[in-house]
Structures are given as C-alpha cells and as structure tokens.
C-alpha cells in the first residue's frame, strides 16, 4: 500500500515533468523538467528494487547527459524558441497518430495478465556486475556486448568530432573563409 502511494507520487511527478517538457517555451526550462522527470524515474527504480540502476540513472542521465544538454543550449545562445510557434498544424496530425499507437500498445498490455513474481532478483551492484562480466562458457555472454559497446562509444566520439570539429572542410573553402 505504501509502495503504491510512493509510486503514485513519483509517477505524477515524472509524468508531470514530461508534460512540462512538452509545454515549456525555452529549452532550458525543458531541460530542467527533463532532469526532474529522470530523477523521479530513478526513484521508481529504487522503489522497484533496482537501486543500482537508479544510481546510474541519476549519474549518467541527470548528471552527464543533462550537463551536455544545458551546455550546448548555453553555447548556441541564439537557440530561443520564441520566434517559432510551439505547435502548428503538423502537431494536430502527430498527436492523434502517436496516441492511437500508444492506445494499441496499452490495450495489448492490459489484456495480458501481469503479476509480480516473488522469485525475482534485486538488481544490486553485486548481482548486476557478476552477470555483466561473467565470461564463463555457458554464461550469458554480456561481456561481448560490453566490448561492442566500447566500439559504439568510440564511434559516437569520432562521429561527434567529425561533425563538430571546427575546421575540417576542404582546403579551398577554409582559405576563402580566412580571407574574409
């Protein structure tokens, strides 16, 4: 019962913050609402017995990613959304489409009998990391994916560098730019 009350509180905050993202005018306010939403999701993770995940959520999402978001918003200072309308006729079309899709998923979810399983494992640091780095022959093999993830992060980094590095254009156009 208590769990339900906590859940409801956190859920309302998360959903409310998500709605704030949708409705806020300035990207910074949106980013702040996003942080609130993420932190309350972290709370729900804790409530559901996955404290490790909750901590990671706070650190990576609410910490690192949102840092990046606010940083970029600050750098590109002209990023104000005031000139353009928040919603336009396209939105009239998007919202029903997404809602229909969501309703379908919802119906499917409601029709399935879901119940908590007593034997479920608490996602503590120890258990999670043991599974993740189990290199035994018959194990889950997540360590391979971990290696692939390393490649993925490398590729993301290089991709970001390639796109955002200042001078990488062709020599001719750079020269033209310098003369100006």
């Amino acid at each position: 019962m208590l769990a339900l009350i906590y859940f409801i509180i956190l859920a309302v905050i998360a959903l409310g913050a998500a709605t704030c993202v949708l409705l806020s005018r300035h990207p910074l306010y949106g980013a702040l609402s996003l942080v609130v939403s993420m932190v309350s999701l972290a709370g729900i993770y804790g409530l559901l017995g996955s404290p490790f995940l909750g901590v990671v959520q706070v650190m990576v999402y609410a910490g690192a990613i949102m840092m990046l978001v606010t940083f970029v918003i600050m750098v590109l200072n002209g990023a104000r959304d005031s000139r353009t309308p928040m919603f336009d006729k396209v939105s009239l079309f998007i919202i029903p489409a997404v809602l229909v899709l969501a309703a379908l998923v919802g119906v499917a979810l409601v029709r399935a009998p879901l119940g908590f399983d007593a034997a479920t494992i608490r996602g503590s640091v120890a258990v999670t990391s043991e599974t993740l780095f189990n290199v035994a022959q018959g194990g889950p093999g997540y360590f391979i994916l971990f290696e692939v993830l390393g490649l993925l992060l490398l590729s993301a980094m290089v991709a970001a560098v390639l796109m955002a590095k200042k001078r990488l254009g062709s020599v001719d156009s750079e020269n033209v730019e310098e003369k100006h």
Partner: protein, 490 residues
C-alpha cells in the same frame, strides 16, 4: 577461445578501424588520403579472408554464423571496400582535412557484420546503433553543404525515433518472453504483448531498410549525402537491417510454436505457427514499397534520388522473400532467395553509386541525369562497371540481378501469390526504365565538349582503388549469375 575465432572478421575490421583512427593524427593532410584508405582496405580484405576461419555455430545465444550469414558478411565487406574507394576519391579530390571517415566506415561495417549475425535483440540493437552513428557522421561529411546538414538532421531524428520504437518493442518482447533472445517461448497469457512488440521491432528494422510506409527519410538522406557515402549506406545498412529482419522472422515462427532455436538461416524452417496478420503486414509493406518506389523514381532527375526510390522498391521485393516458399499455408520459410536478392542488390547499388561518384564531377555537382550525359565515353572503364551494376538492378540477364529476381518471383508464383508476383514483375519493368535511362545517358553522345578543368586535373592516385573495387563488384555480379551456388557455399 572458440568464440574469439567466431568473431575474427569483426575483430579484424575493428582493428583496422582502430589502426586507421590512431594513425590519423600522425599523417599530414596530403598523405592521409593516400595511406589511410589502403590501410583500411587491407584490413577489410583480411576480414573477408577471416571468414574462412569461421565455423557454423552460435555464441552465447547472442551471435550466430551460418553459410547465409557468411555470404552476407562478405558482401558487407565488399560494399565497405567500395565505400572506402569512393570516399578516397571524394575526400582526396576535395582535399578534405582529416581522415577519420575511413575509421568510421570500418566501424559501421563492423556494426553491419554484427547485425547480420545477431540472434538476440539486445545485441541487434547495439549493432544497429553501431552502424548508425558512423553513418550519421558520414552523411554530414561535407560540412559546408546545406543539403548534407539537412540529410544528417533528417536521418538522425527519424533514426533515433525509430530506434526508440525498436527498443520499446524489445522491452515488450522481453516482457512477453522473459528474455531478449529471438527464439524464446512466449509466457502464458502474454501473447498480445508479444504481438505488439514484434510489430514495433519489425517496423524498426523496416525503417532501416527503407520500406514504405517508413521510407520518407530515404530520398532526402540519399540526396543529402555525398554519392560515395550514399553507395555505402544504401548497401551496408540495408544488408544489416534485412538480414536482421530475416533472423527475427524465423525467430517469430519459432517463438510462436514454442520450438527450439533455429538460427541457421541456410536451412528451411517449418513450424506451422504462422500468423496471417503478419503475412498481410508484409504483403502491404511490400506492395506499398514497390508502388511508391517504382513510380516516384520515374519522376526524378537526380541519380541519387532515383536510386533512393529504387532502394525503397527493392526493400519491397526483398520482404516478399520472407513469405517463401509457403508461409501462409504451411508456415514454412526458406530465406535463401531473399538473401540472394539482398546480396545482389547491395553489391549492385553500392557499385553503381560508387562508380557514379567517380563520374559525377567535383562535389557531385554533375550528378543529375542531364549533367552526366556522355561522361561514360570519356571514362569507359568505370562506366562499364556502372552499366553492369545497373543492369543487375534492372534485372537483365546475364547479370546476377536477373537470377535473383527470377528466383524470387518464381517462388512467389509457387507460393500462391500470383497476383503479387505479376504486380511486382510489372513494377520491376517500370523500374528497369529508370535504371536503363541512367545507363543510356552515361553512354549517350556528349552535348558539349568538356569545359570543367576540375575533373581532368585530379591526381589519379585517388581513383585506383575505386576503379578496382567497381570492377570487382561488376565481376562479382557476373560470377554470381554464373555460379550462384558457389556464392552460398563460400
């Protein structure tokens, strides 16, 4: 470490990526485009050779290798070679600073290799993202170009939204089966969640493959990217996505029947657990893609855009392969002809676009149909390769594309999809018009003598690999038509 051997091709290609990325800062701008592509190409070639070591097996229920996946892997690497050749030509000629692009291309190829081998949704997702991120950057490689920026933007936004859909589908499947593995049985009473999840996953993959109705990004992104990158992207991403779709498809059959895993794509599968709804989904997607691709392509002027709509149409053809030999009535699936089609399509489109990158002039300025007229006469060698690739796309014998189309339509005929087969056949004829139009324009008489000095002054060093790889692609297509069996055994 048997598993290490299984990943040998991927490891070799990833090593190549690391080496070329690490060597990049130590070279001056001139030699970057002379050295790095060759380094990358050597690693890709080694990667191809490493497929000889790989045995038919699956590792940790995450990745699997079988003859079909091996063939797909080799074709991915062949397309990567084409991509590197095109990129070298483009970057070298435009004197771009920085050579990170080669490393990125290899990373994307790694991702596509893993996509073809994945038999677990989590590994598939990671591999998919590993393919996507480098491609986002490669699309935007011409940074001053407004169209390139627009292309990246569209690709990134729609790509991430559909990968979110894909991941949500995976979550639902996990909820329904208790595992992210493709072949695990559905839990009691959760069939409805599974059905929705699988639809989301399928559309996530169809998005990457560029099938209608989730095809809108294709035309703009293909046009925004430089021609060389378009060639790479058209082939590699599509091979990855459709190969994964094939695995998922077999997985659906197994899951619904509660049968043990059947990850070997080379073998026919029969579970009699088909879903008529999914049959119609595939049919609708196929027909929509074919119609939109065939007719929208006719109206285009830009070769990239023509081939973009051809990509949409071919995605439609390929998904028909999911229903062969008789999905609806018997629930039996044999994906051999689908993957043969996929491989021929990938090599042909990559080869054609890379060749056109060679012919299209500086910064792809002369890439429209009227601008490229007669270019093939000045550079007959590459143009001939392009013509072979286009003939394969159009389905003319004796190139492999004909056999692939023939096998596919013959299968559809026998499977009782007579109307679809005839319809697709008719549309493929419509499409043949625009492929042949490109080939015709390439060899038509020139309107005026060459005025641009730019194309004549380029250092020929940059073109060697491109010429070599384009002719390799053309030869591969011819060889596959003469001996399609050997392609599947290799």
């Amino acid at each position: 470490m048997t598993s290490l051997v299984m990943f040998m091709p991927v490891i070799v290609v990833a090593l190549g990526a690391l080496v070329s990325l690490a060597a990049e800062p130590f070279l001056n701008d001139e030699s970057k485009h002379k050295v790095l592509p060759w380094v990358a190409a050597v690693f890709v070639a080694l990667g191809m050779a490493a497929f000889a070591l790989v045995k038919v097996d699956c590792v940790y229920d995450l990745f699997a290798v079988d003859p079909v996946r091996r063939l797909l892997g080799v074709s991915v690497l062949l397309c990567a070679l084409l991509g590197i050749g095109g990129l070298q030509w483009m970057l070298g000629r435009e004197k771009m600073k920085g050579g990170e692009a080669y490393g990125l291309m290899l990373l994307a190829s790694c991702g596509a290799l893993l996509m073809t081998q994945a038999i677990d949704f989590l590994s598939l997702f990671i591999a998919m993202e590993l393919t996507s991120f480098p491609v986002y950057a490669l699309v935007g490689i011409r940074r001053k170009d407004q169209n390139a920026g627009e292309g990246v933007f569209k690709y990134f936004v729609s790509g991430s939204i559909f990968s979110a859909f894909f991941l949500y589908g995976v979550a639902l499947i996990y909820g329904a089966t208790g595992s992210t593995h493709m072949f695990s049985a559905v839990l009691e009473g959760r069939g409805s969640i599974y059905a929705v999840g699988i639809l989301l996953v399928v559309f996530g993959l169809l998005f990457k493959a560029g099938a209608a109705p989730v095809h809108f990004w294709v035309a703009d992104v293909y046009t925004g990217a430089s021609v060389a990158v378009t060639g790479f992207m058209a082939a590699v991403v599509k091979v990855g996505a459709l190969a994964a779709l094939g695995s998922v498809w077999v997985g659906i059959l197994a899951t619904r029947a509660g049968a043990p895993a059947a990850w070997n794509l080379a073998e026919p599968v029969k579970f009699a657990s088909q879903s008529p709804a999914l049959y119609y989904v595939v049919l609708v997607v196929a027909i929509l893609s074919m119609v939109i691709g065939a007719f929208s392509g006719l109206a285009q002027k830009s070769i990239r855009r023509i081939l973009a709509f051809s990509a949409v149409m071919n995605a439609g053809f390929i998904v028909i392969g999911l229903l062969l030999p008789n999905y609806l009535k018997e629930g039996s699936v044999q994906l051999g002809s689908m993957f043969f089609f996929l491989v021929t399509y990938a090599i042909a489109s990559a080869g054609a676009l890379t060749g056109i990158a060679y012919l299209a002039g500086k910064e792809d300025k002369n890439e429209n149909l009227e601008d490229i007229q007669g270019v093939g006469r000045r550079r007959p060698f590459v143009a001939l390769g392009v013509a072979v690739c286009l003939a394969s796309l159009a389905g003319l014998p004796p190139v492999a594309g004909f056999l692939a189309k023939f096998a596919l339509f013959a299968g559809a005929f026998s499977a009782g999809m007579t109307a679809t087969a005839i319809f697709g056949f008719g549309l493929s004829l419509v499409a043949a018009v625009y492929y042949l139009r490109i080939a015709y324009v390439l060899f038509a008489p020139r309107k005026e003598p060459c005025q641009c000095k730019c194309c004549c002054q380029t250092d020929p060093h940059y073109g060697y690999m491109l010429k070599f790889t384009v002719s390799l692609a053309a030869l591969a297509l011819l060889a596959m038509s003469v001996l399609p069996a050997s392609a599947l055994i290799g």
